[in-house]
């Protein structure tokens, strides 16, 4: 019974932690635009949190730089189970234009497992909302 309540609250109101692992900020401003009145994803119940210990979903942008790799792993480990990871933008998916540059490891999945990939440079707010909807569907199934 308790499981059902927990699952309902997770699906109805996922807490999201946003982390930039070395990106150019293009995807970050589109994520913020998604919270703004025009697109307003908060009506779906998404709440942004500042602490990994309260987060259900980790929203990652940017290619993982070598300096940020350890921090990303630490943040991921601090999140409680079940946790989901969304990679937003080409750099987060595969490394993007920075693939081959010496400061960059690659996409987010070189470091932590990823559940949803949203490609684009940057992905349009509509694409991000689509990714979020797919994530909520996945949350419902789990």
């Amino acid at each position: 019974m308790l499981d059902k309540v927990v699952k309902w609250s997770r699906v109805k109101s996922p807490w999201v932690l946003h982390m930039n692992t070395g990106g150019c900020n293009g995807c970050d401003i589109e994520i913020l635009a998604v919270l703004m009145p025009r697109f307003d994803v908060e009506r779906f119940g998404i709440i942004l949190t500042g602490s990994p210990r309260h987060a259900d979903v980790l929203l990652c942008t940017g290619a993982v730089t070598k300096q940020m790799k350890k921090r990303l792993i630490r943040i991921y480990e601090q999140m409680p189970e079940p946790k989901f990871v969304m990679a937003i933008g080409n750099c987060a998916c595969t490394g993007g234009v920075f693939k081959g540059c010496y400061g960059v490891e690659g996409g987010i999945d070189t470091t932590i497992p990823v559940d949803i990939y949203v490609p684009g440079c940057p992905p349009k707010p509509e694409a991000i909302i689509d990714g979020v909807a797919k994530l909520l569907a996945k949350l419902q199934e789990s």
Partner: protein, 159 residues
């Protein structure tokens, strides 16, 4: 009123003459590329004299950046200065150091703004700026190996 872009290089030529007089044989080469761009090449060590002269005579206090270029046997270091007082010009002060012993005197005591730029050239090309207050790592990650300088031409990122 709209201003027409200055096309004559008279002012820059005059400044170049003054620099030649001040630096004498230390100035190896100097030319005016276009309005607002003067290039001078000096012996290592003379770059301090050139920048001091510019600060005292022309009130040049802004260094936009410092570039390091790997030329094979030598590393070229370019100080990009900007003169605010009219006529406004960029003056590029270049000097070369041997790659086997890349040492150059700092200019942070003359233009404090060069602090981070010297550290960056040190990080990425290995040029040691003698007299710099804190020549530590600035852009490379903490676990980057010592003695490996990514912007040198003989280093390529691993596949």
């Amino acid at each position: 009123m709209s201003r027409r872009r200055r096309v004559s290089t008279k002012n820059e030529e005059k400044m170049l003459v003054e620099l030649k007089k001040e630096l004498g044989p230390q100035l190896i080469e100097g030319y005016v590329q276009r309005p607002r761009r003067i290039h001078i090449k000096v012996n290592p060590g003379a770059h301090r004299k050139a920048i001091e002269f510019m600060r005292d005579k022309w009130d040049v206090w802004h260094v936009s950046t410092i570039t390091g270029i790997d030329l094979g046997e030598k590393i070229e270091v370019i100080f990009h200065m900007w003169k605010f007082k009219e006529p406004q010009t960029a003056i590029l002060v270049r000097t070369e150091v041997p790659k086997s012993e890349p040492k150059l005197e700092t200019v942070t005591d003359i233009v404090p703004a060069s602090n981070f730029y010297e550290r960056e050239v040190h990080d990425l090309l290995g040029v040691v700026f003698e007299g710099h207050p804190n020549l530590e790592r600035i852009v490379l990650p903490d676990d980057w190996p010592e003695g490996v300088y990514p912007l040198r031409k003989d280093w390529q990122p691993p596949e």
